[in-house]
Symmetry: D2
C-alpha cells in the first residue's frame, strides 16, 4: 500500500499517519519528495479497507498494490490452467471447447433433437437450464430435476458432457449426479453462500461475469470457490451493462485478453446473452475466438420460434453449423483448432 | 404490444406476422400508414418474449406496452403504500424514517453505545450486519446469530426496531425472532430463490437496488416478493455503477421521484454505500430528502477508525447529529418532518 | 509517479526501468519490499504518458500521484473562488445564484414575458440559446445574433444578466457585447480550440460537464481556459450517461461535493438537462441545493407546450415560483440564501 | 409515433391528446384495447420532440417509430456504400482497408520510416496527427501544417493515401491539399459546426464514435455531413466509456454488425484508442475483423518508447506485421481479403 500525502500536509499529520499504520501492523517506509511525502506500507492484509487511511487528515490518496486475489492470479500458476470436464474435453488446451444447447430444457424430444445435431457440428458439452432465473415472477421457471434427467440422458446418448445452472446451495447435492459442470449465472456471481458451497465440490464450475462486475470482482468470486479447495474454475464473459441499449448487453471482448494476462484460469464467451439477438451471435462468437477465448457457450434450438425462453437469441441448427465452419477458419490464427 | 413493420415490408411478410401473432393467442389490429404498417397485438402474457416477433422478417421494431409488473405499480394502489415496521414507525408516512447503525455488529459494547446515541438524535431503526457479503473471501464475514441477538437486545433497551441483512433463504427462520425488517442487499436483488422465500414471510422487507439494476428490474424484484403475498416492501436506492470512479458508486437521486411515480412503494436512500466516503454522506443524505425520499439508511459508528468493516463510510455520532439537524430544516420543504 | 514491479521481476528488469526513468529526467527512489519492489519517480511532467513505463517488462502498475491540473485545483486557492458576473451577482458567495429562461430564444414577446416573470421569483441571470447544438440536422437551430439581441434587451429591461451558449471560436467577438457570461455546452467540453479562445476573453465562462466526462476531465477543461489567463470559470453538472434510461441522463449530484473538495471553482447544477423531464426538475433542483451547489441553471417557459425546443423539460412560471419558495426553505440548511 | 394512454386515462384526456396531435399536423388513428387506448400519429417531423406529448395528462408512453436519420439509413441504399478514398482504395469493398501510422507526426525521419514499413505489410493509408486534441493544456499539441506536409510527402513516396484529424472548420481549406480523408475525432463527433462544414467538402470523412455516443447519435452525426451533400462518410468504432477501467475504453465490437444492419455506410474499428494498451491491440483488431469490420485504424510506431504521444498504444513494426498475417487467415471467414 502506498500512501500519498497532500502537498500541504504538516509534519504532525505525516507522523500521525505513520503511527496509525504501525499500530495496524504495517512496516512503514517514508520517502520525502519535492512536493509530496509518500509512505510505503508493507504487510497489508487482504481484508484491509484502505479507505481507513484515506480519510486521515493530510492524506491525498491511498494506492493498493497487492492484488486482493491469490489463487486466481496468473502469478500462482504462470503456465495457465487446463480444466478437464471429462475425457478429452479440456478448457484451456489447444482445442476450442464449445457448449451448445437450448436456453431451457423443455421436453425429451426437444433436448434429444438438439443434442443429436450439435454434436455433429463439433459441440463437446450440452447446455440447458433446468432452473431459470427469470426477471419476472410470471415467466417459465424451468422443469427442475426432470429437466436435468432429460439433459443427462440426451447427452449420454450422444457422447456429450452436461453443463447446467445452479441457483442455490441447496440444489447442489441433487444436481451432482446429472451434471459434469455447474454453471453460476451472472446474477449469482456475488452470491457468496453459493460460491462457498461450490468450493467444497470437486466438479468444474463455470462462473459467469455479472452485468456490472469488474474483472477484478470476477476474479475475487473465483477466489471464493478456489479458497474452498475447488480449483476447477472456468470464467465466462457474457456482457456488461452500458448506456448503449441497441444490444441487450455490451459483450466486453477485451476482457478475454485482459483476463488471460491477470489469471491462469480459462475464459470463454457467451455471445447469446452478450447480445440478446440471434443475428448478432455469429459475429460476436467469431470475435471472441479471434480475441483468444478458450471456448464458447452458445444457445441453439431446432425451432427457436417455439422455444419457451430466449428463442430470440438462439441460433438455428443451420446457423450453428455455419458458425462452426467459420470458426474452423479463424482458430488457426490464434493457434487453436475446433473439434 | 405494438409491432412496427419495415418500410419495405411485403404484404406476405405482414400476413405472416399477423398469422404468428394470432397463433400465439393475440388479438391483432392492423393500421396501415404512409410509410409503415403497424400491428397492435392485444392480450400479451407477462412472460412473453417480444424478441420472438422482432426477429420475423419484415419487422422493424416491437414495442412492449404493458408494464411487466402489476402489484408494484402505482396503478395498483394510486394513493401510495405506508409500510409499518412497528408501532409508530411507518415508511411512506409524513415522518422521514431513519435507520442508523454500524456496518457490522462487532460486540455488545459497540452496538449498545451506538444504539444509545442514534436514538437520541432521531433514528427509529437500528441497522447492523450479522452476515456480511464481502467481495473478498478473506474479509470479516460477520458474527452470525450472536450478532443478531446483540442487535435485538441493544434495540430493545432503547426503543428501536431492528433491520438486518438476510443472504440466503435458509437463514430466514432463524432471523425472524431477532429482526423487525429483513434487508435484501444489492448483490442479492435478483436472487430469486431468496425473493420467493421472503414472499411467504409476513415481515417488512427492505429491498436494495442492484448496482446495475434498472428501476424496472428493481420493481420486478419487488413483484417477486409481493407475488408471494408479502406486500410490505420498502425500496432503497444505494448507487449504481458508472464510469465515474471518484465516488464508489453514483447515487441515482433521480430514481427517487421516478419510483414515486411508477410505484406505490416507499423508497429510501442509502448514502453510505452510495458514496463510500464519510465526507460525502451528509450532502447526499440531504439531497435524497430534498428529492422526496421516505427515509434514510445510514452507517454510524462511535469509533469509525476502529470499525471492522466500512469504517470509511460511517459517520461519527457528532456528524450524524449535525446531519439530523440539517434534515429538520430541509424536510418541511417537501412536506415531511424528522422525528 | 510510483512504479510497482511484478513479484517475479528480475533485478535486470528493475535496473532497466530505473535507467529508463533516469533517461526521462526523473529522480528515482527504490524501495524493496517482501513481495514487490516499488520505484518512486520524482519530477514528472504534466504531459507525461505513464503508460510508457507501464509497458516495460516486469512492471505491474504505474500510479500517477500529481494531479494533472494546477490552476483549477483547490490547493491553488484553498479559500474558494467567487466569480462575479455583474454587480451583486456572484457565484460561490452566500447567495445561491439562479439562471433561468427558455431553452431557445424564439421571439421578442417570448423572451420579454419570461424575463419579466423569472426576475420576480428571484432569478439573477436570463438564459436562452441563440445557437442550438441539435443532435438532428433537421431540428430548429436557433435565431443567431437576432436571438442574442432580444435576450440582451429583455434582460436589461428587467435588471437581469445574460448567459448564452457559444459553439465556435469564431462566434466569440460577435457575442461579447450581448452576453455577461459565455456558456460552453456539454458536447463542446473537450473542444480545445474553443476552450483556448475563451482563455483570452475576460468574461466569465460557464463550463458544462460532458456526458461521459470524468470530474478530472472537467477540471482539465477548466484548466485550458485558465491557462490562457481567464480565471472566471463556473462549472456545471448536467448529468452523465449511464445504463439507466428512464431519465435522459443521470444527474451526478455527488459531483457537487466532490468538486467542492478538489477545486476552488464554483459549481452549479442544470436539472433541466440532467433529467429531461419537467416533473423531475424540481426534486433534482432541491437535491442539488441541499448537496451544496452554488447555483442552478433552469429552463423556464411561459408556454412550454408551444416551445420550439426542449419544452418537455421546461418549468412553467408557476412551477418555477413554487420551486424558488422550496429552495428558500432548504438553503439555510447549507448556509445559503436565495435572492 | 405511437401514443400509449394510461389504463385509467379518461375519455376527456384521450380527446385532449387527439386534439393536440391534430393541431400539430398529425393524422391520428385510434385503437381501443382492453386495458390501454393506443393512438397512432402519422406525419411526424424529424425535429419533433415526442416528450411534448409524453407530458400530457393520461399519457403513459410515446414511441417514436421513424428513425430520425434518412441518408445514413440502410433503407436509403440497401446494397451498402463503397467509399473510394483513392485509386483502388475502397472502404466497404471486398478488401479490408488498413490505415496505419503514428499517433502524431513528429519529424520527417519518423514518418518516412513508418510509411516505408507499414506499406510493406499491407497498409493502404498513412495516418498521423498534426493537430492533437489533448486532455491537458500542457501536452504536446502537434506540428500543425508542417506535420501535414511531412505526412503527404512520406505517403506519396510510398504510394499511400493520407488521413488526418481536423479539429475546427477554419482548418479545412488549409488541410485539403494535404489529405485524402478528413478524420473527425471522438470528442468532436457532435461539433455540429464542424460537421456542417465537412458537408460542403467533396473528400471522404472518417467519423469516429464519441465516448458516450449511442449508435443512433453516431448515425445522426453522419447525417449532418450527408445533409450537406457529402456522402463519402466512413464510420469508426473506437470504444465507449463504461465502468470497467482496466482498459481505457470498452471497444464495442457488437456495434460493427449493428451498424451494418442499420446503415449502408462502411464501418471500421480503432483498437488502439479502443484499448489504450499495445498488448491488447492485436486481439481486438482480430476481433473487429472477425465481426465484419470494413477496415482498421491502427497506431504503429518504429520506436514507441520514444513516441511523443500515445506510444503506449502503438504497435511496433514487428507486431504490426504479425497482426497483418493473422488477419490474412481470419479475413476469408467473413468473405474478405487483406491487401
Amino acid at each position: 500500500m502506498v500512501v500519498v500525502m497532500e502537498e500541504q500536509a504538516s509534519e504532525a499529520q505525516i507522523q500521525h499517519v505513520m503511527a496509525r499504520l504501525l499500530a495496524l501492523g504495517f512496516d512503514v517506509h517514508r520517502s520525502t519528495g519535492v512536493k509530496h511525502t509518500v509512505l510505503g506500507a508493507v504487510g497489508v492484509q487482504p481484508d484491509f479497507d484502505h479507505r481507513q487511511i484515506e480519510l486521515l487528515s493530510g492524506v491525498r490518496e491511498v494506492i493498493r498494490i497487492t492484488e486482493p486475489y491469490k489463487l486466481a492470479s496468473r502469478a500462482w500458476r504462470p503456465e495457465g490452467s487446463v480444466v478437464e470436464v471429462g475425457p478429452g474435453v479440456r478448457f484451456g488446451g489447444e482445442e476450442l471447447v464449445v457448449a451448445a444447447g437450448p436456453c431451457a430444457v423443455e421436453s425429451a424430444e426437444q433436448i434429444e433433437t438438439i443434442a443429436e445435431r450439435v454434436v455433429q457440428h463439433g459441440a463437446r458439452l450440452l447446455r440447458g437450464g433446468a432452473f431459470k432465473p427469470r426477471t419476472s415472477p410470471y415467466s417459465f421457471q424451468g422443469l427442475g430435476e426432470t429437466g436435468l434427467r432429460l439433459l443427462r440422458e440426451a447427452a449420454d446418448r450422444h457422447g456429450l458432457l452436461v453443463v447446467s445452472e445452479v441457483m442455490d446451495p441447496s440444489q447442489i447435492p441433487m444436481m451432482l449426479p446429472y451434471v459434469d459442470m455447474l454453471q453460476v449465472g451472472a446474477r449469482n456471481m456475488q452470491n457468496y453462500n453459493l460460491l462457498r458451497a461450490l468450493g467444497t465440490v470437486r466438479k468444474p464450475v463455470l462462473l459467469k461475469r455479472g452485468l456490472a462486475a469488474t474483472i477484478e470482482e470476477l476474479l475475487l468470486s473465483a477466489e471464493y470457490i478456489m479458497a474452498g479447495g475447488n480449483y476447477h474454475v472456468v470464467l465466462c464473459e457474457r456482457g456488461i451493462r452500458t448506456f448503449e441499449s441497441y444490444t441487450r448487453n455490451t459483450l466486453d471482448i477485451a476482457a478475454i485478453p485482459v483476463i488471460k494476462k491477470l489469471s491462469h484460469l480459462p475464459i470463454i464467451a457467451d455471445p447469446s446473452h452478450g447480445t440478446g439477438r440471434r443475428d448478432k451471435v455469429p459475429p460476436m462468437a467469431r470475435a471472441a475466438v479471434a480475441a483468444g477465448a478458450d471456448g464458447l457457450l452458445i444457445e441453439v434450438h431446432h425451432d427457436p420460434d417455439r422455444a419457451l425462453s430466449d428463442g430470440a437469441q438462439s441460433l438455428t441448427i443451420e446457423q450453428f453449423a455455419k458458425l462452426m465452419n467459420e470458426l474452423r477458419i479463424i482458430a488457426p490464427a490464434v493457434g487453436r483448432r475446433v473439434g
